[in-house]
Point group: C2
Chain length 346, copies 2
């Protein structure tokens, strides 16, 4: 078996002969991508262009443009946040299964990972309370990747309370905020909440790399900006300009996009159940995460022998599962699932 | 005195009433900045788009596209390189005066700075040999910022030899490669050389944030790509596309740009000498670095009372100097120096 070591093997692989259930690259929203021209030469503000930060602050009641930092996608937002809260020998709590980059990101920031085992994708309040005490903070992600689960309101109440009372940083990965099928998306609030967002998923802007950090803690914001000033400086100006434009997208369009995505998710969920797989019903994001024995072999054989990309649960801390993104066309879903069916019935 | 704490105070400040000798933002080259359209949706390759890496490899004899990583400017290139060579308790040798971000970047990568004192901006071979032994590597920068000095060929021979024989990483900051007034620019070569480059200075593309790493060490390249995969993923695609276009710029245009910059530098150099300042003649880059007592007060008063931006030598490890960028119009140079003259003769 030719083992595939991680998702980066597939990122940026746009071969038309391959059916990809790999990266989460939504293609639903019909936003025009107009040609973009630079408004002015020279560096931009490290914290992000004022117009974009102002537009964002209109979406967060009580916020000001100073509460935002524009980043090279949510990935950089996470990296900068971890570097900013770094404390020697500190531990960060990671719910498992986790998004594959979290572990590496925490390690790269020279802190240690501690795991909180999710129960069928869900956090248990008492478990969080017990586990968080040895940590300086945690990463929270709802709707979750790879689980597709939305955490309950009572868990979120509990986390807000713990964060405030015990001064624990919660890095809330909200990149799937516009794909929450459980109702209006709720975000964590508080002095120690660092919420990270992306334009990639909501507005089909993966390649542009624009995301942002929203936080109310002024000192923390300043620290992150100081780090960004010597690691990447301003986020690319053209993409920020475009991000400013797409923020004006009709709300209805966003709702329709989410509904269409949910329909695809439920369709694929039923089809996978028909194939005999055991999996959770998607409540948000665009991933299905069925159980699958010998997942690394399955990922390799599906790719090399059947031309189908799926991700190995092992990369997300859940061996013997595979992750399938339904952020692809209905036609691709049908073709890919047919191949998957053939493979499973070999 | 209202002390100004660092260069980020001025970055992105584009107030027309202010004369700025601050950031190095060249405006000489007449390259069209056309409107840019995304060629395709989805993420790009983390290592950088194949077409841009191919175009770069044509410029480096014996290289292949695999030797390049496209980054969010030279800043990210430096940050990624340091994170990749990280070793616990390791030290990095930094020639002093240094570019202001180097220190923070080394600290952010959890290593320690050790200084090599430049003599009138120049490295002394024996000093390098002695100092490098306690370090895993060094940052090299020629033409230098803030010194404007080009290091000698014999020093470069020595560094290449030390790097190879003692397995020391040399991160060579070559962002001023197209502004070397000492003759054809020479780059360090070898297995442990990591050279970092930028489109910002050469092609007036600061706000776009495109730079790259060139290295021959395959393992190191792979490690850097793995880090980038979980810290910023692909560099923005529009900017990479533009970078690909500007690489076709006429060589003559590049030479003219450098000659014009040098002329401005020499002009400003003479004018500063006329004002009685002691400084080095520019051999590359676009900075003059005269001695100036009580530099922090001078920087503050020039900005708040005279509307002139200059940088404090303290930010570059050289208190009692100030840095002036001559990457601005001749008109601005005249206006700014007149104000500086008034200030000095108060």
């Amino acid at each position: 078996m030719k083992e595939i070591l991680g998702p980066s093997f597939f990122i940026g692989n746009h071969n038309d002969d391959i059916i990809s259930f790999g990266p989460g690259e939504p293609d639903l929203i019909s936003i025009e991508h107009p040609p973009l021209s630079l408004k002015r030469r020279g560096y931009g503000e490290v914290q992000g262009e004022e117009d974009l930060r102002s537009a964002l602050s209109c979406r967060y009641p009580g916020s000001s443009p100073d509460n935002f930092i524009i980043t090279n996608g949510a990935s950089e937002a996470l990296d900068l946040s971890l570097r900013a809260i770094y404390t020697p020998h500190a531990k960060i709590l990671i719910p498992r299964p986790y998004y594959s980059s979290y572990l590496d990101c925490v390690e790269l920031s020279h802190m240690d990972n501690v795991f909180l085992e999710l129960q069928d994708g869900r956090m248990i309040e008492d478990d969080v309370e017990k586990a968080i005490d040895g940590c300086i903070g945690m990463i929270f992600n709802s709707p979750g990747n790879p689980t597709g689960i939305v955490q309950s309101s009572s868990v979120m109440d509990k986390i807000e309370k713990l964060s405030q009372e015990r001064k624990k940083y919660i890095i809330s990965d909200d990149v799937y905020e516009d794909f929450d099928y459980s109702g209006p998306h709720r975000q964590l609030k508080g002095e120690y909440i660092i919420s990270i967002h992306s334009f990639s998923k909501s507005f089909d802007m993966c390649g542009h790399r624009v995301g942002y950090i929203y936080a109310t803690n002024k000192e923390l914001i300043e620290k992150i900006v100081r780090i960004k000033a010597c690691t990447s400086m301003n986020t690319n100006l053209l993409a920020q300009d475009f991000a400013c434009q797409v923020l004006e997208t009709d709300k209805e369009k966003m709702v329709t996009q989410s509904q269409e995505m949910e329909k695809k998710g439920l369709y694929m969920y039923e089809r996978l159940k028909d194939l005999g797989l055991e999996l959770w019903k998607p409540e948000g994001a665009f991933y299905l995460f069925p159980k699958m024995e010998d997942s690394s072999r399955v990922v390799s054989e599906l790719y090399y022998d059947y031309g189908v990309i799926v991700y190995d649960g092992k990369w997300f801390g859940a061996p013997n599962r595979i992750r399938l993104s339904f952020a692809t066309s209905r036609e691709n879903i049908d073709k890919g699932l047919e191949k998957l069916g053939c493979y499973l019935n070999r």
